[in-house]
């Protein structure tokens, strides 16, 4: 398929899925060349499982792995004494498509490469 496909998934769409289902769904779509934008984040064990599954799926020529980036937001703690960071969005895509990512607090800029052209997402 020509062009870049991005799928946006709300946290609600993921909450009923088991970790294995989430990881399988992510890998399946990313291997097809899609970029996934998830509301929130995976748990640390799901992230480890995602990396492990990615390594099993790498086929040298066509799928070289994934890139994951998170957009964090600053939140005040209960009594407002200190700030903590929570993940607002997680972007996961094929490593050969996601080319440049600039990240600052509350800002994420990404350039995805499709064939000879490129698309920019902010």
């Amino acid at each position: 398929m020509e062009g870049l496909r991005m799928d946006f998934l709300s946290s609600k769409a993921l909450e009923d899925k088991s970790s294995i289902e989430k990881v399988s769904m992510i890998i399946e779509r990313v291997k097809d060349g899609d970029i996934l934008v998830l509301e929130g984040s995976l748990t640390p064990s799901e992230e480890a499982e995602l990396i492990e599954t990615t390594m099993r799926e790498i086929d040298i020529e066509n799928f070289v792995g994934i890139d994951i980036h998170t957009l964090e937001k600053d939140e005040k703690t209960l009594f407002g004494f200190s700030k903590k960071k929570t993940v607002g969005l997680t972007i996961i895509g094929p490593a050969n498509v996601m080319k440049t990512v600039k990240k600052r607090s509350n800002f994420l800029s990404m350039i995805a490469k499709i064939g000879d052209s490129s698309a920019s997402v902010h």
Partner: protein, 206 residues
């Protein structure tokens, strides 16, 4: 049984726990150089082979019964040098280091297996030295995933800001990104600040 409950049971039974310290981090962050420095200092011989090509360590290497002695305190442990953790492995990156296409593809295949092995070892280690290249951006998914898993499993760890001998190094950048964790700046290659690391290891893992 998870690590937290195993450690609790050990304490209740006053059982002497065998400390297994894993070296984790990105490819080329200097894990094997550090493992070699520790092994040379305390058992008199290196552990593994180092090179400039990423993913030189593609399977786990282990040295049992290392003893660090600092100010009368001793730390007994096994050292586990793991392959670098990454989210992608592209054989084409190895070609620029002079490898043939066949060698590069073979290295890429072994590297993917090594990463799986490194992740699996998180179930077995009881302490971690998370080695970061202080000339690089520390805020990567591999570092975030490793730290998240260590925190969730309650495995004690030290962050090692390696390569401080290089002019572009910034250990402060690592401390700024992970302010809640102990960061020890070192040069594993030149054994710079290595005594400080041994002190911190004895404090953290004993």
């Amino acid at each position: 049984m998870n690590t937290f409950f195993r450690r609790l049971l050990d304490k209740l039974l006053r059982r002497k726990r065998k400390v297994k310290i894993g070296l984790y981090g990105h490819p080329n962050s200097g894990k094997t150089t550090l493992a070699n420095t520790i092994c040379e200092d305390w058992i008199g011989r290196p552990l593994g082979v180092i090179s400039d090509i990423p993913h030189e360590t593609r399977s786990v290497y282990k040295q049992e019964e290392v003893v660090i002695e600092k100010d009368g305190a001793k730390l007994y442990f096994d050292i586990i040098d793991t392959p670098g953790v990454a989210t992608k492995v592209d054989y084409k990156n190895f070609l620029k280091y002079g490898l043939s296409e066949r060698e590069a593809k073979e290295r890429a295949k072994e590297a993917t297996k090594g990463i799986i092995e490194a992740i699996k070892w998180l179930d077995d280690v009881t302490g971690v030295l998370l080695v970061m290249d202080s000339t690089e951006d520390p805020l990567t998914q591999a570092n975030i995933t490793i730290i998240g898993n260590l925190e969730a499993r309650k495995i004690p760890f030290l962050i090692i800001a390696n390569k401080i001998d290089l002019p572009e190094s910034s250990a402060d950048r690592i401390s700024a990104v992970f302010p809640q964790h102990t960061v020890v700046p070192i040069s594993a290659l030149h054994k710079e600040n290595i005594e400080e690391l041994y002190m911190e290891m004895v404090k953290k893992f004993r």
